[in-house]
Symmetry: C2
Subunit: 427 residues, 2 copies
Amino acid sequence: MSRPQPIKFNIEKKLIKSNGEKALGRVGTIETMHGIINTPAFVTVGTKATVKALTPEMVKDLGADVVLANTYHLYLQPGDPLIKKAGGLQGFMNWHGPTMTDSGGFQVFSLGAAYGKNISKITGDDSITGKNGAMAEAEGRLRKIPLIAEAPEELAPKIATIDEMGVTFKSHIDGSMHYITPRRSIEIQHNIGADIIFAFDECTSPNEPFAYQREALDRTHRWAKQSLEYHHSQKNSEKQALFGIIQGGRFEDLRKESAEIIGAMDFDGYGIGGSFAKEDMSTAVQWVNNLLPEEKPRHLLGIGEPEDLIMAIENGCDLFDCVAPTRNARSGTFYTKNGKINIGNAKFVEDLTPIDDSCKCYTCKNYSRAYMSHLFKSKEMLAGTLGSIHNLYFIIHMVKDLRQSILDGNFYEISSAFLEKYKAGNK
Amino acid sequence: MSRPQPIKFNIEKKLIKSNGEKALGRVGTIETMHGIINTPAFVTVGTKATVKALTPEMVKDLGADVVLANTYHLYLQPGDPLIKKAGGLQGFMNWHGPTMTDSGGFQVFSLGAAYGKNISKITGDDSITGKNGAMAEAEGRLRKIPLIAEAPEELAPKIATIDEMGVTFKSHIDGSMHYITPRRSIEIQHNIGADIIFAFDECTSPNEPFAYQREALDRTHRWAKQSLEYHHSQKNSEKQALFGIIQGGRFEDLRKESAEIIGAMDFDGYGIGGSFAKEDMSTAVQWVNNLLPEEKPRHLLGIGEPEDLIMAIENGCDLFDCVAPTRNARSGTFYTKNGKINIGNAKFVEDLTPIDDSCKCYTCKNYSRAYMSHLFKSKEMLAGTLGSIHNLYFIIHMVKDLRQSILDGNFYEISSAFLEKYKAGNK
């Protein structure tokens, strides 16, 4: 007897190369309990159960199909039992469309790590992988630090401690200690109640050597199995879909092995994780997507710059999430068809044209670069709101346009024309 | 030949006391070029051409009729010529309803003053009135400081310098020196282009002695005449209304004299200015409103707490503005019918009821105290947005309800019942 399917993925059309061969890319839909995600789709990030500076109505109006919240953050604050009591993530944050939560693996290593100082020995394991939280998002760099019971200040292990069963980490909020196992991550994600959730994994850096990647990958695969088994033992698996995560760093054999092992497990979809060097990303995505089952959706985790989205769509990714559009917006960096602009530049002070004169977002229809410049100079909160609306609209609609171009059979023309203008402007 | 009227004030009904006597309060409408203000009306403050944390659509949706921006702030950043080029305040900030600008007098003294250090002698005038900007909004306290060419650090005149013609002050943004005269203030306000503008005045503290109030009031009256004469010499007077400002501190004879002198000038309406001790406000408003022409609107400047609004409405004020609702919101203090609450209180962490269960605002309809508590703890920008929506809705609709109660003939019952609950909750 097959189990009930919490989501349904339909492929509508596949991307065809100019030489007539099938490419990896495809257009589809993911039906969830709370609505349809038209893929490929940019997934809007709402880390702490809020898309920063926007109401859910704004997020919907700018065209977002789905919001991704963060398990690590919500577990620590306000806590998943409260979210469950509030009717789950959707009820708590007043977003009534599809939702996702990542497993918290990345943040456990990066943020749990950032806070810790002078943590003494917690587990019997003598290998510790630490991540400098401050650098993590910029570099995705993992460091190995020898375990020292009384760490000298300069070696203070800014760490999360891994053992076979899970990860011990220190809260970046209050310094309290926490232990997350694959099962615990799924329990938390069941409480939060998103439509799509992720297995708990170890997110390594591309700079880790093969031996460590090998060890971490085996653990990630064991954890994937534990996540899946626990999930399927629970009623929640009837309404929440679980995605497994492919890791393996920059090593072809590990990435392929991971795609085969995770791809063979009965997940509802797949995430491709790990930090990539920009030039490796396309190759690594191809290794993986050539092996993953075609009939299930694939999420490239943490990717969101225009050129990366084009690569990901061409190579068969259906979902991608990234904080870049909203983070850039809050620092005054806006996407335009002619590349990025920074509104702090003096030339915009008296510029009464919109951020992008071809953009149809609320911000571009109603406000000038001069007004945006004024709001940023005045440190007004509306700056972040209007900027986030523009950047999210730009990225979401860029993906929607590429989706349409696959349906129309002109993906390569549309994406090349976009990139030519966009890259020329960024020079 | 009478001059064209930029606004039209209609009184619909007057407040009647329980003993049958007429009170000062009244219900009316102000017709402007950009829409109608139903009075009494709370005027939403948008100091720097933005109501903090809200889009203009949100401001409109929560029931605001009119937005007040700040001449001093906009003159310094982004500058009034740019706003004129952008189609005036309405076009620049995308608010299409009625607008006002204050004259900048208050801010010239408080903020221009806050920045200055080691300002050497600027004018030949040997009397300087300085205001400690940091304390100004809290206390409205003015200090007199002897003019010293090379001021020692501890006497560093945190000052604006008044002469007969105007005020010299230092920008709180970049330290640049500026000189504002009554005519200059009107020119700036013509560029900004609001529907209702204010004459340039000297805003004194209630703590100033009689002699200084006398001197400052005479100057304010001369400046009022200059403001009015310049305004009427310009085409803009056909579409922008000019309000004169009553001053006089806490002295009955000065307040009455000011009401008579300013009230006799051909202003389109009147502002009541100056900082009041809370217990004096009602008395001072009565002195003034008993003498001002009945057929013109009156704006009580800088007032916005619920109990003060009831007093002001009862005593014949038609307009009032205050930053309190939005400022309180950003610090987590919310109005409820049972008094103010601070969302930082631990008891709200798991409280799944709305801020005020009888409130019909967007925030109360869609979010819980627990969610608001989470947003504040997480320092999320949406906290300020949702909080401001609630507080502004609360205050604006409180005034709307009181307006309706005058029409219905039960103002005293409604306002007493409100105050009883509200004050009990605040204890």
